[in-house]
Symmetry: C2
Subunit: 267 residues, 2 copies
Amino acid sequence: NPETKFILEKFGFDDPITKTSYKGEDVFITDTTDLALCPDDILDANVLGVVDHHKLGDLTTSTPLEGWIRPVGCSNTIVKEMFDYYGVEIPSNIAGIMLCAILSDTVIFKSPTCTKEDTKAVKELAKIAGIEDPKALGMEMFKIKSAIEGTPIRELVMRDFKDFDMSGTKVGIGQLEVVDLSLFDDKKDALLDDMKKLKEEGNRDFVLLLLTDIIKEGSELLAVGDDLSKIEKAFDTKIVHNRVWLDGVLSRKKQIVPFLERVFRES
Amino acid sequence: NPETKFILEKFGFDDPITKTSYKGEDVFITDTTDLALCPDDILDANVLGVVDHHKLGDLTTSTPLEGWIRPVGCSNTIVKEMFDYYGVEIPSNIAGIMLCAILSDTVIFKSPTCTKEDTKAVKELAKIAGIEDPKALGMEMFKIKSAIEGTPIRELVMRDFKDFDMSGTKVGIGQLEVVDLSLFDDKKDALLDDMKKLKEEGNRDFVLLLLTDIIKEGSELLAVGDDLSKIEKAFDTKIVHNRVWLDGVLSRKKQIVPFLERVFRES
C-alpha cells in the first residue's frame, strides 16, 4: 500500500519479498500467535520465538522458545526492547522504519492502545534515525495513507480487513484511517454496495468498515448485516442508513472487537 | 515434599496455600502454557501474563498480555530478569528461594537444560541472599531430596510424575533425583510393581520412572508397558528386567520426551 511504499523509499529499502512457506526453517513470528494468521506450514517450521502485542492465540510449538509479548501499541516497541536487551546497536535506517510502524499502529500516539513504552521507543528511535519531529513525519504518513482517489473500491475495503469468528458469528471488519473524513463523502454508497457483495461472497454474517478520522479522533462505522440491532446494542447507538459516528473510537482491537464479542457471546 | 519444606523453612516462609479456582481474578501464570496443567477455570480468569521456559502450549487469552518466555533452565531465571527490567529490588529471602529453584531445575548446573543465563542469575541471587556457596546449598538440597527411606512407594512414583499424550499413546513419566542410586537397590521391584498398577489404573500404555543419579550424571530407566521394544528403539538400547542405565541422561524434558515422541509419531 502507499504508506508502506513511502516508508520503504524514505529509508532506502527495497520491497520485501513475499514468502509463504517456512517448512524446516528457523523463524521468529511477529505480530500474532494465531495459527490462522500464520503461514500454512508454520507447524513444520522451527519457531525460535514470538514477538507480539495481541492476545495469546492458538499457536503451539514443539520446543522451548523465546516469547516477547507485551500489552503495548506496536510490536516494534518490543523489537526495540529486544535490541536493547541483547545490546545490539540499531542501524539508523532500521530505526526509521521501526519508528514509522509505531506511529502508524498508535495513530501518532492518539490510539487508546498507545502506552508510555511506545512514546519512549519513538523518542529513542527518532534520535537514532535523525528524525527531528516524529509527529510531523506521522502526519505526512497519514496524509499519504489518506490519498484514496483513484483506488478501486474493493481495494479500499480490503486494505486492512480482518475476519473474526465471534461465538459462531462470522464478522469481517475493515478499517481506513484518514486525516479528513470528507474524503469519503462521495464514496460511502459504493463502499456499502461492495460490503454487501463481500458479505455474500464470504458467507459472512456481518461486514463492518471503520472510516477513522485521526484529526477529529473518531470513526464513522459502515455496517452491513441481516440484524443490525446487534451492532447497535454493542455500541449503545442507533445506525441510520447503515452508518453511525462513533466519537473517540480509533482502535478496532480495543474499542470495537471486544464489544461485538460480548454481544455475540450473549446471543 | 521434603525439598520444598527445607527451602521454605531455611528462608522463613510459611507453606503456600493451595488454591484451585481463579475465576474473575487477575493472574500471572508461571511454568506452563498448557491448559491441562492450569487450574480448571483459568479461561475465566484475567491472565495478565505468562512466565515460562517450556514449549508454547494451547493456552489462549481474550486480552493482550505480558509474555516472558525464554529457553532457559528455570522459570525463576526469567523472574529474575523481570525484577531487573522493572527495577524492583529483590528481597533477600525471595532471592534465596528463587536461587534454590534454579539449582533444583538445573540439577546444580549439570542438566543440559542449563544456560549461562541460569548460572548468571544464581550468581546474582546468591549475592543478594548472602549465600556464599550456592553449589553446596544445592548438594544439601539434593541430599534431602534423596532421603526416600520410609516414604510410601506410590508417593515416590508420583512425586514428580507427568502424563503425556504422544500421537495417541498415553505415557506417564516420573522422575526421582538422588545423590546415590544405590538408595534404590532394595526398592526397584516394589517400584515396578506399583508402576504396573499405575498403568492399569490410568489406562496408560506405558509408565516410566527415571531414577537419576546426579553425581554419576545418568539415569536408570524403569519401564512398564506391553511393547517395550518401542522404548528400546527411542533410546537405541536394550531393556533387561524392565531396567536400563542411560548414561548422561538428566533431563526428562530434553533427553527423554522428544525421543519418545518421535518413535510414537512414526508408529
